[in-house]
C-alpha cells in the first residue's frame, strides 16, 4: 500500500482530461495575447504603475489558476455522479489522503497554468528579478488556498449538470470585480473586490513595485476566506455519503 499511488493515478486522470487544457490553460493564454498584445508598449496601465504585459500576465494567471483550482469541483462532481465517492469511502483510503490528492492535483494544474502565463509574459517583454518572480508566485499560491477548498466544497455540493455553469459563472464574476479584464482602482467594484481573495490574487502583480504587495487587509481577507471555505469543504465532504 503506497500512500501516494492514489495521487499518482489522479494526476494521470487529470492530465488526460482535455477540457482542462482548454479552459484553464488555453483561454487565459489566448486572452492574454488579445489584451496585453496590442498594449505591449503601455508602461503604466491606468495608473497602476505596472506595464500592460505584466499586469495582464498576473491577472490572466489569476483567472486560469482560479479555474484550475475550482475544476477539482468538476472532477469530484463527475465522480459523485457515477457513485465513485461511495466506492472510495468503503476503501481504506483516508479522508486526509483523498483530500490531499485533490488539493495536490489542483495545485499542480495551477502551477502549470502559472508557468505557461509566465513564459507568455516573458515573450511580451516582462522581465523581473528572480526574487520578484518567487514572491509573486508565493502570494498567488497562498491566495489560491480558499479556491482549493472551494473546489472541494463545490464538488461535494453541486450536481454534474450545474457544476459547469457554477464554476464558469463564478469565476467570470470574480474575474470582473477583481480586475482581471481591466484594473479596478476605485468605486463600488473596488470595494467589493477588496473583500474577495481573487482580488488579492491579481494584486500579487504589484510585487515588482517594491514594498508590500498585499496590505494587512489583503492578508486578512485571504485568511478569512481560507478558514470559511475549508470549513464548508469539510462539512460538504463529511455529509456526502448518500446515493446519487
Amino acid at each position: 500500500m503506497s500512500d501516494l499511488a492514489y495521487t499518482r493515478y489522479e494526476l494521470l486522470r487529470a492530465l488526460r482530461n482535455k477540457r482542462f487544457f482548454f479552459f484553464s490553460l488555453g483561454f487565459p493564454l489566448i486572452l492574454y495575447f488579445l489584451t496585453a498584445g496590442p498594449n505591449q508598449g503601455e508602461d503604466d496601465l491606468q495608473g497602476t504603475g505596472l506595464s500592460a504585459p505584466l499586469y495582464f500576465m498576473v491577472s490572466m494567471a489569476s483567472w486560469g489558476t482560479m479555474t484550475a483550482m475550482l475544476s477539482t469541483g468538476a472532477r469530484i462532481a463527475g465522480e459523485r455522479q457515477v457513485g465513485w465517492n461511495r466506492q472510495l469511502r468503503i476503501s481504506p483510503l483516508s479522508a486526509f489522503a483523498y483530500l490531499r490528492a485533490k488539493v495536490a492535483i489542483a495545485y499542480l494544474m495551477a502551477l502549470l497554468t502559472l508557468t505557461v502565463m509566465y513564459v507568455s509574459g516573458t515573450i511580451l517583454g516582462v522581465s523581473l528579478p528572480a526574487e520578484d518572480w518567487a514572491e509573486m508566485t508565493g502570494l498567488i499560491l497562498i491566495a489560491l488556498i480558499p479556491f482549493a477548498a472551494a473546489g472541494i466544497f463545490v464538488g461535494h455540493t453541486v450536481t454534474i449538470e450545474s457544476v459547469g455553469p457554477a464554476i464558469g459563472g463564478g469565476t467570470a464574476v470574480l474575474a470582473l470585480v477583481s480586475g482581471t479584464w481591466f484594473p479596478v482602482t476605485s468605486g463600488v467594484l473596488h470595494d467589493v473586490g477588496q473583500a474577495l481573495p481573487s482580488y488579492w490574487l491579481v494584486q500579487a502583480g504589484r510585487v515588482p513595485l517594491g514594498g508590500e504587495a498585499w496590505s494587512a487587509t489583503g492578508w486578512l481577507v485571504v485568511a478569512a476566506w481560507s478558514v470559511v471555505m475549508i470549513g464548508l469543504a469539510a462539512r460538504a465532504y463529511r455529509g456526502d455519503t448518500g446515493r446519487a
Partner: protein, 304 residues
C-alpha cells in the same frame, strides 16, 4: 494481530431502523432488521425492489447511519473494518472512473489496500485480461460490471458485499459471474449479496434472508426458504381431452388449468405430482417444472 481474535465474531446487524425524508413524507426503508452472519458464510439478501436491501447494505458498510440499532463487522464499527481493508464491495451504480484503463483502475484500487490480490490475477479471474488496456469509458455495460467486480475482488477482503451484482448482465455474463464467485468463495471469504432472483440465492448462497417492506420475513438455509415459499408449477402437453378431475385428484396437485392440450398444475408437492402424472398419463410430454416466482413467494410470506 487483533483481527485474528475479532474475526470469529462475524457480522451483526441488530435492530436496524432507517427512515428517509422525502417530499411525499417520510419513507421507512428499514424497520427493524436483525441479521447475524458467521465468517465464511455466503448469505443472499433476497427481496423485491423497495424491500430495504440496499439501505441495509449501506448501513452495513457505514455509508448510511442507522436511526436506531447497531452494526458490527468483525467485532468493530464498519469504518474500522473498512480502514483495515477487510471489506470489498460492489455497489449498485452503473459507471466507472473515467480517463483510466481497466488495468490502471484496478491497480489504483489495489494500491489502497494493505494486502491486495495481484492485478493480473484479478484480470484473469474476471475475464478482463483481453480488455485490460481499454479505457473504462469505452466498455460495454457487462464489461463495466465485471470491472466493478474486479475492483471489489482486488481488495482481497474478508467480507465481500455485492449489491445486485448481476443486474444489467446478460444470461451468459451472469453465468460466468457466478462461476467466478464460486471459485472465490472457496477462499473462505464471507459473502453477502443482494438480489431479487430466487435462483441466484438458491444456486449460490448457503443461506437466504428474505426482506420485504423493510423487515426480515424469513431467514434460513436456501432449501428451507424454498420449501417455505413452496409452490411449484408443472406445465405439460397432454393430448387426451378431458380428465381434468383425474388431474386434480393427483397427489400434490392444488389446482389445474387447461388451455387446449396445454395443462398447468399448481402443486404443493411437485415431486409426488410428477410421479403420479407420468404413471397415470404416460402420453404427457414437453414437461416443465418451475418454482414459484419470488414476487408470488413474497405475497405468500407477507400475507401471513
Amino acid at each position: 494481530m487483533e483481527s485474528s481474535i475479532t474475526a470469529t465474531t462475524g457480522i451483526r446487524l441488530a435492530g436496524l431502523v432507517k427512515t428517509f425524508r422525502t417530499p411525499n413524507g417520510p419513507v421507512e426503508a428499514v424497520r427493524g432488521v436483525d441479521i447475524a452472519i458467521e465468517p465464511g458464510e455466503t448469505v443472499a439478501l433476497l427481496g423485491p425492489n423497495g424491500a430495504g436491501k440496499s439501505t441495509t447494505i449501506d448501513m452495513l458498510l457505514g455509508l448510511a447511519e442507522p436511526d436506531a440499532g447497531t452494526v458490527s463487522l468483525f467485532g468493530g464499527a464498519p469504518r474500522d473494518a473498512i480502514a483495515a481493508g477487510r471489506v470489498g464491495a460492489m455497489l449498485q451504480t452503473g459507471a466507472l472512473l473515467r480517463d483510466l484503463t481497466v488495468c490502471e483502475l484496478i491497480a489504483m484500487m489495489a494500491s489502497l489496500y494493505p494486502e491486495p490480490l495481484g492485478v493480473d490475477d484479478v484480470l484473469e479471474l474476471t475475464g478482463l485480461a483481453p480488455t485490460a488496456q481499454q479505457r473504462t469509458e469505452k466498455l460495454s455495460g457487462g464489461q463495466a460490471q465485471r470491472v466493478r467486480f474486479a475492483c471489489a475482488l482486488v481488495a482481497n477482503p474478508d467480507l465481500l458485499v455485492l449489491d445486485e451484482p448481476t443486474v444489467a448482465m446478460d444470461v451468459e455474463g451472469r453465468h460466468a459471474f457466478w462461476a467466478t464467485m464460486r471459485d472465490f468463495a472457496r477462499r473462505g471469504t464471507t459473502i453477502v449479496f443482494a438480489t431479487h432472483y430466487l435462483e441466484e440465492a438458491d444456486d449460490f448462497a448457503d443461506r437466504a434472508v428474505l426482506m420485504a417492506h423493510g423487515r426480515v420475513v424469513a431467514d434460513g438455509p436456501t432449501t428451507e426458504i424454498k420449501a417455505r415459499v413452496g409452490s411449484r408449477t408443472i406445465r405439460a402437453t397432454l393430448p387426451e381431452a378431458g380428465g381434468d378431475d383425474a388431474l386434480r385428484a393427483l397427489p400434490g396437485v392444488a389446482s389445474v388449468d387447461r388451455r387446449g392440450a396445454a395443462i398447468t398444475l399448481r402443486c404443493s408437492d411437485s415431486d409426488a405430482a410428477i410421479r403420479a402424472l407420468l404413471s397415470r398419463f404416460p402420453a404427457a410430454r414437453d414437461i416443465e417444472i418451475s418454482g414459484a416466482g419470488l414476487e408470488e413467494a413474497f405475497l405468500e410470506l407477507t400475507a401471513a
